[in-house]
């Protein structure tokens, strides 16, 4: 488990005794406190650690507290960061200057540690509440955005695809060979756009709420065979020998559409990254209650430094970009999410210039009662 980020406070005073007093006053608050000895260090620290609050002495040699606050306030990043100014003089002119510089509170030295702690706690609570509200608002906006994009992009694509299909079926007149060829180009690209929109939405959905599965029991070997046949035309075109070896035919409780999507992604990747005349082999096997699918290619491979990055959204391997191999960097993100949603594992072994083997392992039994139900969830 990762620790949630701690609240960070910068305490800046040229006098060590004041810093120690302030740190001691705030020690009970589970804050991470960083000390700065002058104004320059305070500004530098603020920029690098982005604290949640700053306690700054007003009177310091060189850059004083007023300068520090005024300087930071010009950066939008620090517009809302609470700042407390400390001073030995409780003069109205000092209070005014502190307010003008953009400080939230003004405290005279010597200060009561309890008072400082309570002021800091109050400001931090207020800051967290504001941040929380903003995050909820952003979350809502993101959901609305996904819904909007989903509708606004799919609707025109539905029309494009639907009417192209009508024309290609020659429902409204015969096509010349050339007309058919051109319209097929449009259709292929509309399909590509649709897949891209689908992938983007799926990634957004996975990040927002995870992946929902509609499970039913299927023969994994059959699913793999279908995926291999889907990739066959592209393999043939590149003269790649694409083969399927099924040692067993494991019955698997899974979401067939999603798992097919994962297999399609992996096999089409293997074909895409394998040069002409290469080999791609898909193997289905079973061992110790787990089904395994391996996709081995003789492709360009992935360098060891990039191995871990391939499952990050929008990542493209440098050798793929160099060779101008097209892609969005979403396929493997989706594939991994699908495998994980099935409580499976995915491993990649690769050697640059030699080839890549992707191994997906899926548990055959589901003990949570969630799987193995013959009916797909409601909608099918």
């Amino acid at each position: 488990m990762e620790n949630p980020a701690r609240i960070t406070i910068v305490v800046c005073d040229d006098e060590a005794s004041t810093r120690q007093l302030a740190c001691a006053a705030l020690a009970g608050g589970n804050y991470s406190i960083i000390e700065a000895v002058d104004g320059n260090e305070a500004v530098e620290l603020a920029r690098s650690v982005r604290p949640d609050l700053m306690v700054i002495d007003m009177m310091m040699p060189g850059r004083n507290g007023l300068d520090v606050v005024a300087e930071l306030r010009t950066d939008p990043e620090f517009a809302d960061m609470p700042a407390i100014l400390l001073t030995a003089h409780d003069a109205i002119s000092h209070r005014d200057a502190a307010a003008d510089a953009g400080a939230d509170r003004f405290m005279t030295k010597p200060f009561s540690p309890l008072k400082l702690a309570s002021v800091v706690d109050g400001l931090i609570r207020k800051r967290l509440a504001t941040q929380n509200k903003r995050l909820r608002e952003l979350d809502r906006l993101k959901d609305e955005f996904i819904a909007l994009v989903s509708h606004e992009l799919r609707t025109p694509l539905t029309s494009i695809g639907g009417y192209l299909e009508l024309i290609l079926e020659e429902e409204v007149g015969e096509l010349t060979t050339q007309q058919r060829r051109f319209i097929e180009v449009i259709e292929r690209n509309a399909q590509r756009l649709l897949r891209l929109v689908g992938d983007l939405l799926l990634v957004a959905q996975i990040e927002a709420s995870g992946l929902g599965l509609e499970r039913s029991v299927v023969d994994l070997a059959k699913l793999a065979a279908e995926a291999v046949e889907t990739a066959r035309p592209r393999a043939d075109k590149k003269g790649i020998d694409l083969s399927l070896v099924c040692e067993e035919e494991p019955a698997l409780a899974c979401d067939p559409a999603r798992l097919a999507q994962a297999l399609d992604n992996l096999i089409s990747n293997a074909v895409k990254f394998t040069p002409e005349g290469g080999h791609v082999e898909v193997r289905v096997s079973c061992r110790q209650g787990r089904a395994a699918i391996e996709i081995e290619d003789t492709g360009i491979g992935i360098s060891p430094v990039e191995r871990d990055a391939i499952f990050a959204p929008f990542f493209r391997a440098s050798n793929a970009v160099e060779r101008e191999i097209q892609g969005t960097g979403l396929g493997l993100v989706i594939t991994k999410a699908i495998v994980l949603a099935h409580r499976g594992e995915i491993h990649v072994e690769s050697e640059e210039g030699i080839g890549t083997t992707v191994r997906v392992e899926l548990p055959l039994e589901h003990k949570d009662g969630n799987g193995a139900s013959p009916a797909a969830g409601g909608a099918a």
């Binding site: 819904a147 989903s150 509708h151 799919r154 609707t155 694509l157 539905t158 029309s159 695809g161 639907g162 009417y163 299909e165 009508l166 429902e171 649709l194 939405l201 959905q205 709420s209 929902g212 409601g378 909608a379």
Partner: protein, 130 residues
């Protein structure tokens, strides 16, 4: 399939605010030998549903005035239209939307984009089992 009330062919109501998609669905249904009534918003769809009592309603979810969920709810709330099968047409594929559709009383849903075969199969399976 048995069309109701002295009809030779079943009457299907289609509602979508995107007229291009509406035309496409109407074309495909007429091609499959159905009579079609069409509407470009939810209010119009509800009026047609009450006046003509179609054998099936296909409603887009996102429509101005009344959305597909609300039209479905009102179809279910009226004695004369209560048993009318409803298919929702949706460009959104999140599970919550599907659940919302079934909660409103829809019998089935079709995801956009849909293939003509899929449309025909869904319509036939609902009209055929009546």
């Amino acid at each position: 399939m048995t069309p109701s009330a002295g009809r030779v062919r079943p009457l299907v109501l289609v509602a979508d605010d995107d007229e291009d998609i509406l035309d496409l669905v109407v074309f495909r249904l007429e091609q499959a030998n159905y009579d079609v009534a069409s509407a470009t918003n939810g209010a119009e769809a509800l009026t047609l549903a009450r006046e003509r009592i179609p054998d099936l309603a296909i409603l887009d979810v996102m429509m101005p005035k009344l959305d597909g969920y609300e039209v479905t709810r009102q179809i279910r709330a009226n004695d004369e239209t209560r048993d009318m099968p409803v298919i929702l047409l949706t460009a959104r594929v999140q599970e919550a939307d599907v659940t919302r559709g079934f909660e409103a009383g829809a019998d089935d849903y079709i995801k956009k984009p849909f293939s003509p075969q899929e449309l025909r199969a869904r319509v036939q399976s609902i009209l055929g089992r009546r």
